[in-house]
Symmetry: C2
Subunit: 337 residues, 2 copies
């Protein structure tokens, strides 16, 4: 289906569940974008969940989002338990504005929810010719190093910079080795998973996908990845006033209250120290790395962001493929009066 058609339907559904026209526009835009970049786990598969939470008012459909100015560079946003996309959208736009004025800006957001992909916010800053870091925490998914119980979210580290060409450099990497979806697929197909990816429920390393599903996922690179996940939890949770330390609620499973996810945006001007040369320098950097001798089977050395960009362009033309069960959900939600 063409993305603009499905977006129209999703927007209508969000409005049925009491989002304002503007908030429904923002939320449907980000949701469809996840489909377009080939991240369906962050896309339409979440629509039903958002609507259920809106209906139960644990996502506040009419949030009074408060913006507190700390300085000309720093601001604190209280998302008032509204849908994550909206508070984050306000946050990144404010961070961009402040960074343009002062060179560097920091926006912290609390009482928010799942906001889709960090790269969507990073992209906005990069398109305004800025460097950006985005941090967000998430419900428990991976075990801290040494533990057999999940606590950290997949806690992505996201970084973006202008490149001097149309495709921005956007690294958006979770700190889990492989995502749960891939383990589910392996379990279905009876495939083994690599060692070091997950523990069984007794805390033993396993290559059995089914056992892994009952256990926990592991962070990348052991102590290193665990430390990075911890860092992201501190920056987006402890610092901002949001939930942290495993307290962010799972939006699919836990309807006992709002998620209270935290986000943190740090934005800066790339020309602070080298002036206009920044673009020449980053071009040269990327060119040098792309020219390196490649290992067998590799056609091109890609920089982060290139893959997502080409999937986006392809899907813009091709349209979005919606799974049958999700299509059913959308039809049902659209039929709600």
């Amino acid at each position: 289906m063409k993305h603009f058609k499905i977006k129209k339907i999703v927007k209508k559904i969000f409005k049925k569940f009491k989002l304002s026209d503007k908030h429904a526009e923002i939320s449907s835009e980000y949701l469809i974008k996840a489909e377009l970049v080939g991240a369906p786990s962050h896309g339409l598969a979440r629509l039903k969940m958002y609507c259920e939470r809106l209906k139960k008012k644990i996502i506040n459909p009419k949030p009074k989002i408060k913006i507190k100015k700390i300085s000309s560079s720093i601001a604190h946003i209280d998302g008032n338990d509204g849908i994550g996309f909206v508070a984050a959208d306000i946050g990144i736009k404010l961070a961009i504005k402040n960074a343009k004025k002062t060179g560097i800006s920091l926006v912290a957001i609390k009482n928010s929810g799942h906001y889709g992909l960090s790269s969507f916010y990073a992209e906005q800053a990069v398109n305004k010719n800025l460097i950006v870091f985005c941090f967000t925490n998430a419900p428990p998914a991976i075990a801290p190093y040494g533990s057999k119980k999940k606590l950290f979210g997949t806690n992505p580290i996201c970084f973006g910079t202008p490149t001097g060409n149309k495709i921005p450099f956007i690294l958006d990497t979770s700190v889990s080795v492989i995502n749960r979806g891939k383990i589910r697929v392996a379990a279905k197909l009876g495939h083994k998973i690599p060692l070091g990816v997950a523990l069984d429920k007794f805390g033993k390393p396993t290559t059995d996908a089914k056992r892994a599903l009952k256990g926990v996922q592991l962070p990348i690179a052991g102590f290193r990845g665990s430390g990075l996940a911890w860092m992201v939890d501190i920056m987006s949770g402890v610092l901002t006033g949001a939930n942290h330390g495993g307290k962010v609620k799972d939006p699919f499973d836990d309807f006992s209250g709002p998620q209270n996810v935290g986000h943190l945006f740090l934005v800066l001007k790339p020309n602070l120290f080298v002036g206009k040369n920044y673009i020449r320098r980053i071009r040269q950097n990327i060119r040098t790395i792309k020219k390196l001798p490649k290992i067998k089977g590799v056609q091109e050395i890609l920089y982060p962001g290139q893959g997502i960009n080409s999937r986006y362009k392809k899907n813009l033309k091709k349209g979005i493929v919606i799974q049958k069960n999700i299509l059913e959900d959308i039809k049902k939600l659209n039929a709600v009066k």
Copy 2:
């Protein structure tokens, strides 16, 4: 040997090689600290190299370090090719001062050199009750994802925060799977190295340590770690005006000119958004994670910085063990007139 005794000797040696008393003090302090925290590869093993570079004036013994104020939050330092410790020491102290005033600060340093461990600088900020990120680039050591040639340095990501107790949370993680030293040891002992750690000179994955030494090391977690290393090169090299894209010179092998390493310090106040509650929140965060059920064989879940802290305390009492060949070097350097 007791650390203060050896520090005195090292300081004297640095002065023989024309460092000012103050710069010799700073440099010997950081060098000995690397030994004390159990990172000898960043310690006395580098003294001879520093002296050779000072003698050849590719480390400028009398740098005119220039500080350019960009705003009350932002500064740019030109290290004038002096020894890395000194420019970085000035940089972190300035970043601390500015963050105390404005809530957030950014200091970029170019024309610097290897500065020891990032955690030394992070620690200074944390001890002043601040949150800190340190980035630095380094000579080529690991291959970008898809390439068979090394280009990125081990490019550490370093993050620190106060914890409300005496041991700061300091994550200081390189983005290589294991360091070259460990591969060297495996080669000597005829041990295999894990798959996914290194490529041979033909770009093929290898578990043979000797072949790995002729090839390249790999980043943690494939594309993810490669992206993180790239991010650090951009933040500490492209942004600051320092060398980048594999141009940082290897201090041991390349005497054709100064290294031109870049560093970036970002410092912020932890109480910006949650006021005095920050310490209560971070304590609670750490306590929650420490209380998680542990996997078999794990005594305690450690937070980043605890390990280095206990080694430091132990070595302060026990003294530093200096390898024979390095002791010979020190004696020779001390005999220079």
